[in-house]
């Protein structure tokens, strides 16, 4: 029996697939069950689907590499991680340069100051014994001792901040020699000269720290962002 106004063929294909919206459509299934043309079409499409599902596997046209070559895999990873390397390499280099400059800047004055202290220390000890003997004779030993000690501290501060330890040290040694005869105001001058010393702290340790921090941060980020196998 042929019935006009057949359903759309795509709806019949959906029915052949077993789509729920098609199988639940009573008008569609009702039509198909009473229409030879539509029944044949649904059956044909069903057979076609079954045959398509049976199509066999196909051997490769050429031998395939079953394992990705380690080199190839590495190069892929290198390519993928290339941007991270390119971005962080200059940062790493800049960090290393800063750290090197900071290290040299920090270490060099320290060696020189140490030398100055050694020289000053030996000369002071020699002069101090002389100075103690002279004021002791006129009774001014108690006043003279304190300015001498203050000047010695100021000498160290100036040597650190000036970076040129030898000449200030020598001049202060000379001042130390005359210190026992000076008034307490002179000692105040020494204290006021000492005051700006903390503001003039050496920048080199900070440079060194910044450089090391940059290096560590760049290396860490490079390691985190680089892709890995697997």
């Amino acid at each position: 029996m042929l019935i006009p106004n057949h359903p759309d063929d795509e709806r019949l294909s959906a029915l052949a697939s077993g789509d729920t919206d098609a199988t639940a459509d009573a008008s569609l299934t009702g039509h198909v069950s009473s229409c030879i043309r539509c029944t044949d079409l649904v059956n044909e499409l069903g057979a076609l689907r079954a045959s398509l599902a049976e199509l066999p596997d196909v051997p490769p046209s050429r031998p395939l590499r079953l394992l990705p070559a380690v080199e190839a895999q590495t190069s892929r990873i290198d390519r993928a991680g290339g941007w991270a390397r390119r971005f962080f390499a200059p940062v790493l280099t800049a960090g290393a340069a800063l750290a090197l400059v900071g290290l040299v800047g920090t270490a060099a004055p320290a060696f020189r100051v140490q030398e100055v202290f050694q020289n000053v220390g030996s000369e002071l000890s020699a002069q101090a014994s002389m100075a103690v003997e002279a004021p002791a004779a006129d009774g001014g030993g108690a006043e003279a001792g304190a300015p001498a000690a203050s000047t010695e501290e100021a000498t160290g501060g100036e040597a650190l901040s000036a970076g040129d330890a030898s000449s200030p040290a020598e001049s202060n040694v000379e001042r130390t020699l005359s210190a026992p005869g000076e008034t307490p105001d002179d000692a105040d001058d020494g204290a006021s000269a000492r005051a700006p010393a903390p503001a003039e702290r050496s920048p080199w340790p900070m440079v060194l720290f910044t450089g090391v921090a940059l290096m560590v941060a760049a290396a860490l980020l490079r390691w985190i962002l680089a892709p890995r196998a697997g």
Binding site: L45, A53, E54, P56, P59, L66, L67
Partner: protein
Amino acid sequence: MTDAPERTPANRTPPLPDEAAVIQRAADGDRTAFAQLMEHYQSACYGLAWRLLGDPDHAADATQDAFVHAYRAIGSYRGGIFRSWLLRITANASYDILRRAQRRPSSPLPDGEEGSAPELPDIGAVNPVVEATKSELYRHLEVALRRLPEDQRTAVVLCDVYGMDYNEVAAMTKSALGTVKSRIHRGRLRLRQLMAEHRELFSE
């Protein structure tokens, strides 16, 4: 290609007898175990790629890409049918190549002269399980598939040949669900027309 009902026709690669153990070894970094899996399923992967791409070289490239993707992803494999998992990877790799290679309006693949497409492998010769009549049917089906517009062929191959559901096909082809259904139905109806003169092969 839903994981629930496993459907492995007789002429398709069945699972390895000790597949779960081999997969576990491969996931643990055993390269030999991974190679064993890829060797076992290479015909399945290549067949899918070849049907989607229609070109032996592109199909081999896509299969090779799929192996690399699988190698990198097998550590995160979380069970299910391994063949389906691998075929999904292959389908994605093939589709990537298809998109790159065919940035032009969808068109059927060239298939040479009627019934004598030189790229078609002689399925009966390489797979002794396939009977002669079936071999003839499959050959005509392959030729008919290649005559479909690319979007319909992709949808029919993924859905009807490899059993993926509509949602999977839609996600893979980045298309709307309704569009995918329409492509499948229209492709199927077009296939029926193309196979009209070989209709007797379906009943044998």
